[in-house]
């Protein structure tokens, strides 16, 4: 019923800006903790989890694909990593929220799952294509762990304002 709604034109633009904000904050955290561990800021994913399932599935997946494409071009110069991860992630949200109700707790679970999934896929793909010499232990302790920790904190900060907007836009 809700999923017949088309995505308004401004939503992809907002998501794009939030993607860049994510990048800037990731840089900020990196320079504060002196690259001892890498915390990736995933506000974009949180917002996509809350809002995209409101809209038509095909629109959402396409939006995710184009965002991923821009990410790949701008940050990596290698195309096909985030432009795969993001649409997969969005499709997963539709599968999940068809079965469960949207509550803060289910969003948290889905968020942690998505962060783990995206970080792992992007790491594994780069290892498989031999773009990097993957250090698996460092990936777990230095990247995935701190990232999940940071994003749980992020979730606590942002979920209630986001849900407020969510309820308003659902009407």
């Amino acid at each position: 019923m809700l999923k017949e709604k088309r995505i308004p034109f401004w939503l992809p633009i907002v998501l794009f800006l939030i993607m860049l904000v994510d990048g800037q904050f990731t840089r900020l955290f990196g320079s504060i903790n002196e690259n001892q561990s890498f915390m990736h800021f995933h506000l974009l994913l949180l917002i996509m989890i809350v809002f995209l399932p409101l809209y038509k599935r095909r629109d959402a997946v396409l939006t995710a694909f184009f965002l991923g494409l821009i990410y790949d071009f701008y940050y990596l110069g290698i195309v096909g990593i985030w432009s795969l991860c993001l649409p997969v992630f969005v499709s997963l949200q539709y599968v999940i929220f068809e079965q469960v109700e949207t509550t803060p707790f289910t969003i948290l679970l889905s968020f942690i799952l998505s962060v783990t999934l995206i970080e792992s896929i992007s790491f594994l793909m780069q290892v498989i294509f031999q773009l990097i010499t993957g250090k698996f232990i460092f990936f777990i302790t230095g990247v995935l762990g701190p990232t999940i920790l940071l994003n749980v904190v992020l979730f606590i900060f942002f979920i209630f304002p986001l849900l407020k907007i969510f309820r308003r836009s659902k009407k």
Partner: protein, 294 residues
């Protein structure tokens, strides 16, 4: 009764997902390999992608302004804590500084005269610089990439070395019209070029390749050494100018320790970087003056 056609359509529908999956996998494999090879070839990006990257870079630059403000605030507080200690160290260094300056001046003029006699315009150690602001850093840990706000319009080309505040930090991997990407030496990219370096040890220079970065000790690893000379902790490491991309004598860091590699045949030298590899807002791109003999 179900027609043959119906069965075929049904069968196709159940296989549809597999087929779509396969097509996506093939497309992904193709695009990743293609773009990765293209990036390693080191040509300038084609027009639409260059425009896309420049546009995103422009928007990102706007966003980075408040964030940079916070960052500089934090780092200035950090610096305040270290000031006393640093001041003591600097005072000790300063005593010998004046003598060094006058000595350096003398060497410079002498060098200039000797070059004139030899009709040398550009030696390996002469270069020009382009200063650039850092717009962003790739949020992907593995491809450690900085986006800077100078591009091919400002004379930047692929493979130029990039210096941080004190020493070498990376090289240019991709150039657009108004922005470019710098790969840091900390990245674990397998296919990147390695910097040829030399280690000054009591008069004699040892040559090697800057091959890897060790996260545990926060140091570079230099291997494939040219000689078996004993190296001490604190020996200076700089680029050698061999290999055609980088000029000579760009400061890299100091020797931290010397270890044998895992086969026990070759030595690996751990080098403490001179430049900070996390706190960067301005970088300098180095343009080598001497043409490489290709």
């Amino acid at each position: 009764m179900e027609s043959v056609w119906g069965v075929i359509v049904k069968k196709f529908n159940s296989n549809k997902k597999i087929i779509i999956g396969l097509i996506v996998a093939i497309l992904i494999i193709f695009s990743v390999t293609y773009t990765a090879t293209k990036r390693n070839e080191g040509n300038k990006n084609s027009f639409p992608f260059s425009v896309l990257n420049d546009f995103v870079g422009l928007v990102d630059k706007g966003i980075s302004i408040p964030i940079n403000f916070v960052e500089s605030g934090v780092s200035s507080v950090n610096k305040l804590f270290n000031t006393y200690e640093e001041n003591e160290k600097l005072k000790a260094k300063l005593d010998s500084y004046d003598a060094l300056v006058s000595e350096n001046q003398e060497y410079k003029s002498e060098n200039e005269k000797l070059k004139q006699q030899l009709d040398l315009n550009a030696t390996l150690s002469s270069y020009s610089t382009v200063t650039a602001n850092v717009i962003s850093r790739s949020p992907d840990t593995w491809q450690d990439v900085l986006v800077i706000d100078q591009g091919s319009k400002n004379g930047i080309k692929v493979n130029m070395p990039v210096m941080g505040s004190k020493g070498l930090i990376g090289r240019v991997v991709e150039v657009d019209s108004l922005s470019s990407k710098v790969e840091l030496l900390t990245s674990s990219n397998q296919s990147s070029n390695h910097f040829p370096v030399k280690i000054q040890s009591s008069g004699e220079a040892v040559y090697g390749l800057l091959e890897d970065y060790d996260e545990k000790t926060n140091s570079f690893i230099v291997s494939q050494l040219s000689a078996d000379t004993e190296l001490k902790e604190g020996d200076l490491v700089s680029t050698s100018g061999l290999g055609g991309n980088s000029p000579a004598n760009l400061y890299v860091g100091t020797v931290l320790s010397v270890k044998s590699d895992s086969y026990g045949l070759d030595k690996e030298i751990y080098v403490t970087p001179a430049a900070s590899l996390y706190d960067m807002s301005v970088v300098t791109v180095i343009q080598r003056s001497a043409e490489s003999g290709e």
